[in-house]
């Protein structure tokens, strides 16, 4: 079997035979009730050698991993801990955190990048974890709200949110805090207006904005 040079090859014994794989796949139903059979006929059979095979994982799926025709193996570095996972490539980073790893701090608000409740840090930069595929994060350092405190000591922003009552229901708070942690390192905290503009990707439906801005301002002053 020839593989295009762009794909990371797996060990030879892990590369399943395409025909065997097709049998396995067609027996499975897609999660939305749609049979994977039509999907395969249209695409995967013809292109199995090009696309599918190098990324198919072996048979050592963990209980938490979804049953998937084209499960992809990925190692995620989350809060300093490595997690070896086999994931359906459809899985978003947010869903891995919440559903596979029980890190439920990052919240699913809108699930379409409009609210910021799912904000996490990837290599120090804030992103919406709901709009990114988990399999694209191999080798990156992911930090969630659960990874901010050190030895039980709250991150200065966590402490500032508590002191300033920067929340009401608390649902948006993990995203707000992760976003604000990045904001501090970006340095966009010269005025309240600047904080508001650079925190605009995090909505708070309770309307705790006044106290959120106060918390960010206080933490920014502390860390100067």
């Amino acid at each position: 079997m020839t593989l295009p040079p762009c794909y990371e090859p797996l060990d030879e014994d892990e590369v399943p035979d395409a025909s065997e794989d097709a049998d396995r796949v067609t027996a499975a139903e897609g999660p939305a009730g749609s049979s994977r059979r039509s999907f395969l006929v249209g695409s995967a059979v013809a292109t199995a050698s090009a696309f599918v095979v190098p990324l198919l994982a072996g048979a050592d799926s963990k209980p938490a991993a979804p049953e998937s025709a084209n499960a992809t193996r990925v190692t995620l570095d989350i809060n300093g801990k490595l997690h070896e996972l086999q994931l359906d490539p459809r899985t978003t980073l947010l869903d891995v955190l919440r559903e596979n790893l029980d890190l439920t701090g990052a919240k699913k608000g809108c699930d379409q990048g409009a609210c910021g409740a799912c904000t996490v840090l990837v290599d120090g930069r804030r992103v919406n974890s709901c709009l990114t595929l988990a399999v694209m994060h191999s080798g990156k350092k992911i930090v969630t709200i659960e990874g901010l405190s050190i030895d039980g000591r709250l991150h200065p922003l966590q402490a500032a949110f508590i002191r300033n009552d920067g929340f009401q229901c608390g649902y948006c708070t993990p995203g707000q805090i992760c976003s604000a942690v990045a904001l501090l390192s970006e340095g966009h905290t010269k005025s309240d207006d600047e904080i508001r503009e650079w925190m605009s990707g995090n909505l708070c439906r309770c309307g705790a904005y006044l106290n959120i801005v106060a918390a960010v301002r206080e933490a920014a002053n502390e860390t100067v």
Partner: protein, 328 residues
């Protein structure tokens, strides 16, 4: 989301070869693609991660600046070469989306983003010619407050959502596009297509082609350029109207001008007529107002968005006035 095969691309020639396989989507930031895959408007069979390709540089080249298509919006906005030579580009990027989205979204992806028409996203009950050619347009007689007033057709009135693409059209950006067959260049103004009777065709990228970089040519009107965006809330919102402009003024007279409008058209809307109306005139409000009338001459309002015609004119006049006042 429907199932797909995922692959990591490590080397350009192989990526371009694989990209030509039917129903393959390249993914960079994924902020638009993943969203549309969730609502099943997009359902590629193959998703090919291109982030490992060496397309993340910003550098001087000849009389201009070349920006890799994988450069993230936030990085391009902050880059000294962009800030110094093309402030409208930086401003347009910073007024887009949110810090989180700008950190993830690539410039190439920004140009490839699909429209935000709610009927386009909703596939359970509304017809949409863009999503399903020939099914009809729900927006023309529907809730069309956010829709276009320029470049519309009977088949589609969806607004092109990008701010960056508007600034790029104004400042004569050029896209470099590669495929397994070779490389070609396309002016930013020629990249996006008018809907006409084929609104499902949004750009002139062929199957297997990839935007690899964006070139910005130096110009005085680019150095003195700006982007003004008017929206329903102060931040994190698409434009109702916007203007990307550049001016070269000496002795109070406009020597060259660049004008493009956003939030109002089915593609980034360069107005060469408005530019021609400005050149040779005194840089003052009557000239700006005349140019605005020219720019919106062919505008057509629908039930809920007629206000955009006057708002777009005022947006352009204010942008030009602020810019001229800044260094006239």
């Amino acid at each position: 989301m429907r199932p797909f095969n995922f692959a990591l691309g490590a080397e350009e020639s192989a990526v371009l070869k694989s990209g030509a396989i039917a129903n393959t989507k390249f993914i960079a930031g994924g902020t638009n693609l993943v969203d549309l895959m969730k609502c099943e408007v997009e359902h590629p069979a193959h998703v090919l991660d291109i982030n490992a390709l060496p397309m993340s540089n910003v550098e001087r080249e000849g009389q201009g600046v070349r920006i890799g298509a994988l450069v993230r919006m936030s990085d391009a906005a902050d880059h000294p070469l962009v800030l110094r030579g093309f402030p409208a580009i930086s401003q347009a990027l910073l007024l887009s989306a949110s810090p989180q989205l700008r950190n993830a979204a690539s410039l190439g992806g920004n140009l490839m983003q699909r429209v935000r028409c709610p009927y386009f996203r909703e596939l359970t009950w509304t017809p949409c010619n863009k999503r399903e050619p020939g099914s009809g347009c729900s927006a023309i007689n529907g809730d069309n407050r956010m829709h276009a007033i320029l470049g519309t057709s009977e088949a589609c009135i969806a607004t092109h959502p990008s701010d960056f693409a508007v600034a790029l059209a104004a400042l004569d950006g050029v896209l470099t596009i590669r495929s397994a067959k070779g490389e070609r260049e396309v002016a930013a103004t020629d990249f996006h297509l008018l809907p006409g009777t084929t609104p499902h065709l949004e750009h002139n990228l062929k199957a297997g082609e990839l935007i690899t970089s964006i070139y910005l040519p130096d110009a005085r009107h680019a150095q003195r350029s700006a982007y003004l965006k008017i929206r329903d809330r102060a931040s994190y919102e698409f434009a109702l109207t916007s203007a990307a402009i550049g001016l070269e003024v000496s002795g109070g007279v406009i020597r060259s001008a660049r004008v493009a409008l956003g939030g109002v058209a089915t593609k980034p809307w360069r107005s060469r007529d408005a530019e021609a109306a400005l050149v040779g005139k005194a840089a003052d409000v009557p000239a700006f107002r005349n140019a605005a009338d020219v720019a919106l001459r062919s505008a057509k309002g629908y039930e809920h968005n007629g206000f955009k015609i006057e708002l777009a004119k005022r947006t352009l006049v204010r942008a030009l006035t602020d810019l001229a006042g800044g260094a006239a």
